[in-house]
Symmetry: C2
Subunit: 230 residues, 2 copies
Amino acid sequence: MADTITLGVFASGGGTNCQSIIDACEAGRIDARVGVLITNREDAGALERAANHGIDAHIVPVGKDLSEEFHAADERHVEILRDCGADLVCLAGYMRRIGSGVLRAFERAVLNIHPALLPSFKGAHGQRDAVDYGARVSGATVHFADEEFDRGPIIIQAAVPVVPGDTEDTLGARILQQEHRIYPQAIQWFAERRLKVEGRSVLLDPPSRGSYDTQGPGVIISPPLETEEA
Amino acid sequence: MADTITLGVFASGGGTNCQSIIDACEAGRIDARVGVLITNREDAGALERAANHGIDAHIVPVGKDLSEEFHAADERHVEILRDCGADLVCLAGYMRRIGSGVLRAFERAVLNIHPALLPSFKGAHGQRDAVDYGARVSGATVHFADEEFDRGPIIIQAAVPVVPGDTEDTLGARILQQEHRIYPQAIQWFAERRLKVEGRSVLLDPPSRGSYDTQGPGVIISPPLETEEA
């Protein structure tokens, strides 16, 4: 086991990814604890989840991108993250740009999850865009965040089929199931200090001991998961 | 079984996709025969494959895109395809743009295969671009061709993992294995008149009777294959 790391989680919405991270921590499946939740919205479902688990939470409105309020929020984010001793920042359905202050203070320590196989279907509607494009396979991506949306080096991807009659919601639910598997895994690899970034490539060292055999039909998780029980 | 359709196959390179189509025809796995091979290169490996199987072949140099020679070649292509009674045109590693004459004469009857999960990694180097991007999952796509490269409605996709140490060649080989499974399947669905295009979506009617269970770990083929034996 690795030393327990402290996570600062950002969420704007219902917070199911936040919940899957909390659950993985509490079940001891990953060597991490959620130190703080930060949201930009008073009505974020993630706030109730944090409260239920006794996790400190902060609502920080961010204003327009790159406005004065945005930069003040960025500074406030850094302050909150430092106060809780965060080692890693996890964007979990945080629908706003992350500030350059956070990116500098947590260099190569900010993760994001996106509901598509990047570089396909970047942006706020990954699930809908995949359906509209007529894609037959889509998925989810956990990557290091950088200054540009949905671009940083990829840690892990999960692929699932798009099936006849799929809508944004049905495909979204299928992808979400895999998001909840891969985000805790990415965090665990970070905690174990096994992620080395070389240019755009993320090297997992040593390689995953998991197997494609155990993922179930119609799913590819790459690198294979190690965090789940057989 | 459907009536046997006649294929006009275009190839520029080694022609392994051309070979997989010929093999599927000869083994009776698909209701099709290759009526003609067209290539732009005298040294195309596909020429020998055609000769080995008694398939009529034509070398048609195409010149620069949209040049006079290009348009003349486009007309010649239509003539050759009509002479052999082609029902369906299959681009199989044909590295040149297909002319608007062929696209008009064979409306919604020109297929292309691309070694990536479109819309990711369009262009001539799908395998290399996936490795360089640090993608963890890539694959192959069979789609209806239209005027723009790698854009038309998607029929079937196969996804595979990118594994540590992969190069353009090792990933390419893994993808090629799946290309050889999905291209014959797409042709068979066309022969069975089960492909209906609605905007960007291709409806397979009736849906595939195949299963994700039989594809092997680390592979997603969607819709699932029907052409292979259990």
